[in-house]
């Protein structure tokens, strides 16, 4: 049997993903987020884990460096990689939204046309504004997006929120939702065919476990 390589994203999806995968028999010693080892192997079950940066994960899977992975739908929508999207894991719920400083909320979304937008998600932002017929100036940042309007780098932001606390603490107000997101199981195009039975079983088992967990 060939190894099945699973890519896990650093960050908020990590712990939950490790737990869920262990429940369906995909586990290895020392799968921890700050692992020194880059590849963690379980020889018995023929599984390899690699832990990668969130935004890089779809690339690993698209190229087949990992056979499957777990990643937020937001990252998939932003990166548009050619991968199989097999399962909505149900956790990691958040949404991409547009926010402005609370003091500068305008009556209509269209009123923000031509303003500067700070975001980590330029493709998603452009698509969203294009649909509304709005031309914007996109400022691509890699983190701390909320800072941009405070220091005058942009008039508004497009960013991911879970609870909205950070947004509120920085006196920002959400004015539109771009799309909702949650964790997804993805697979490489070729791996999905060459390791079909194994991946099919994994999806079936995960569905069962996630369903059981969802029940109170």
């Amino acid at each position: 049997m060939d190894y099945l390589t699973i890519a896990l994203p650093k960050g908020k999806l990590f712990d939950k993903s490790v737990k869920v995968l262990a429940k369906v028999g995909y586990a290895a010693d020392n799968v921890v987020e700050d692992s020194r080892k880059l590849v963690i192997t379980n020889e018995e079950t023929k599984v390899k884990f690699i832990i990668v940066k969130t935004m890089d994960l779809p690339t690993y899977v698209e190229y087949g460096a990992a056979d499957i992975g777990i990643i937020g739908k937001d990252v998939l929508l932003e990166q548009r990689k050619d991968v199989y999207e097999l399962l909505d894991m149900g956790y990691g719920k958040c949404h991409l939204m547009m926010a402005v400083p609370a003091a500068r909320v305008l009556p209509n979304i269209m009123d923000y046309t031509h303003m500067r937008v700070a975001t980590k998600y330029p493709n998603s932002a452009v698509e969203f504004f294009d649909k509304m017929g709005m031309q914007m100036e996109i400022v691509k940042l890699n983190g701390s997006i909320e800072l941009a309007p405070i220091v005058g780098l942009s008039e508004l932001i497009v960013d991911i929120v879970e609870t909205g606390t950070t947004i509120r603490e920085n006196n920002l107000k959400e004015v539109a939702t771009v799309y909702p997101s949650s964790a997804r199981l993805i697979a490489n195009k070729v791996s999905f065919k060459l390791q079909h039975q194994r991946i099919k079983k994994l999806v079936r088992d995960l569905k069962k476990v996630l369903k059981e967990e969802a029940q109170p």
């Binding site: 698209e62 190229y63 050619d82 199989y84 999207e85 097999l86 195009k189 060459l194």
Partner: protein
């Protein structure tokens, strides 16, 4: 400064000696195999009128490289080889009717993000079989694809086969609005099982709903096809399954079924393919290394309705897969190094010509040298053996 000026554009590549020689050898093996199956080579222009590509529907318009000619008509670097060959058959090869088998090994051009083994300029080898609609033609093309990948040197690969008729039959039975159908097609093309399951909920006809939800998992051998046949609700899907089973049974005669597997969600391009479609994959590389299928409506767009089937394989991706299998070694040695002392150059030339006549690869020293110098020069010139002519 100069160094920067001397770079090559994004998505292009130099193939250095060694790799180039191996690539040429590989292409020769592939070409010989195409010829053995009765396919004849054709060479078409590197660029053509963009209108020709627009007409065929085979092209990916966003990716094409276009420029203006002197008469301000738009030219396009060929983005694939099927359209040029089809154009050639219709305009240059009379009578148009009758079966034609053609092959090509050519570079094509696309503005795309470079991926594993795929640059903006890349090499494709492929065949087209014009003028025959039956399963024999499709089986021949499939079996030839298997043999060509083997001729290229690949050991492990599978051909995944689907059928556009199967999915189209399902979609017709689903009774969706045109907009909903379009969305479902998009989900199938992007392999989005999550969205597909949700979208299928609106379908009231249960067998179709179930099959669409499971579509990406409809993978397996001929038994799966037979089993599906019992559950298929519409004649179009059933015909597609019959067609695939007939193709498969012919492939048994070709002795290639160990490389075949079915994937009924495989579609490649809804508007272009009209029957059997397939892609080939190897474990070494996350992308398909070969793809093709039946396209019976395209020739009508060129004014000569005619069925057709064929495939293209990505030479650069195959090289990458071979490298990962450890089977692609740059070959950059010669058999003999012929060296000579002052005054013996004519004898050395005669010796080299004799050795070349015997089929050896030979380098001749460009200046006189002692035996000791020659013994050092021989390995430096990557030659296996030294011939010192006094």
């Amino acid at each position: 400064m100069t160094r920067n000026l001397l770079q090559i554009p994004y998505g292009t590549k130099d193939i250095l000696p060694g790799e180039a020689r191996m690539k040429r050898n590989m292409e020769d093996r592939i070409a010989k195999n195409f010829l053995a199956w009765g396919y004849d080579e054709a060479i078409t222009p590197t660029f053509e009128y963009a209108d020709t590509f627009d007409l065929s529907g085979a092209d990916l318009p966003d990716e094409s490289m276009k420029f203006l000619g002197r008469d301000n008509r738009t030219f396009m670097l060929r983005s694939e080889m099927t359209t040029p060959l089809a154009r050639m058959v219709v305009t240059r090869m009379s009578p148009v009717e009758g079966v034609k088998r053609l092959f090509y090994i050519a570079n094509v051009f696309r503005h795309e993000e470079t991926q594993a083994g795929r640059q903006c300029e890349f090499c494709q080898a492929g065949v087209e079989l014009f003028g025959e609609a039956n399963a024999q033609a499709d089986a021949e093309v499939l079996a030839l694809a298997v043999q060509s990948l083997k001729a290229a040197g690949l050991g492990h690969f599978i051909l995944s086969i689907g059928h556009s008729g199967f999915i189209n039959g399902l979609l017709e039975d689903a009774e969706l609005t045109p907009a909903q159908t379009e969305r479902v097609k998009q989900m199938i093309l992007s392999h989005n099982s999550v969205a597909l399951e949700k979208a299928a909920d609106v379908i009231s006809f249960e067998p179709v709903q179930k099959m669409l939800k499971q579509l990406l998992y409809l993978q397996g051998g001929p038994d799966m096809l037979r089993n599906l046949h019992k559950h298929a609700s519409n004649p179009k899907s059933q015909e597609a399954l019959d067609n695939l089973l007939e193709i498969y049974s012919l492939c048994e005669a070709y002795g290639v079924t160990e490389y075949l597997s079915f994937d009924l969600s495989l579609i490649r391009n809804f508007d272009y393919y009209t029957g059997m479609v397939f892609e080939a994959y190897g474990p070494q590389i996350g992308f398909n290394i070969c793809g093709g299928g039946r396209y019976d409506t395209m020739m009508a767009k060129f004014g000569s309705p005619m069925p057709a089937t064929g495939f293209a394989m990505g030479i650069d991706r195959i090289i990458l897969a071979l490298r990962r299998e450890g089977r692609f070694k740059d070959q950059s040695t010669w058999d003999m190094y012929v060296a000579w002392p002052e005054g013996s150059e004519k004898k050395a030339i005669a010796k080299a010509m004799q050795l070349r006549g015997d089929g050896r690869t030979v380098k001749v020293a460009t200046s006189p040298m002692s035996y000791e110098e020659a013994a050092g020069a021989c390995p430096m010139n990557r030659c296996e053996a030294l011939v010192y002519v006094k």
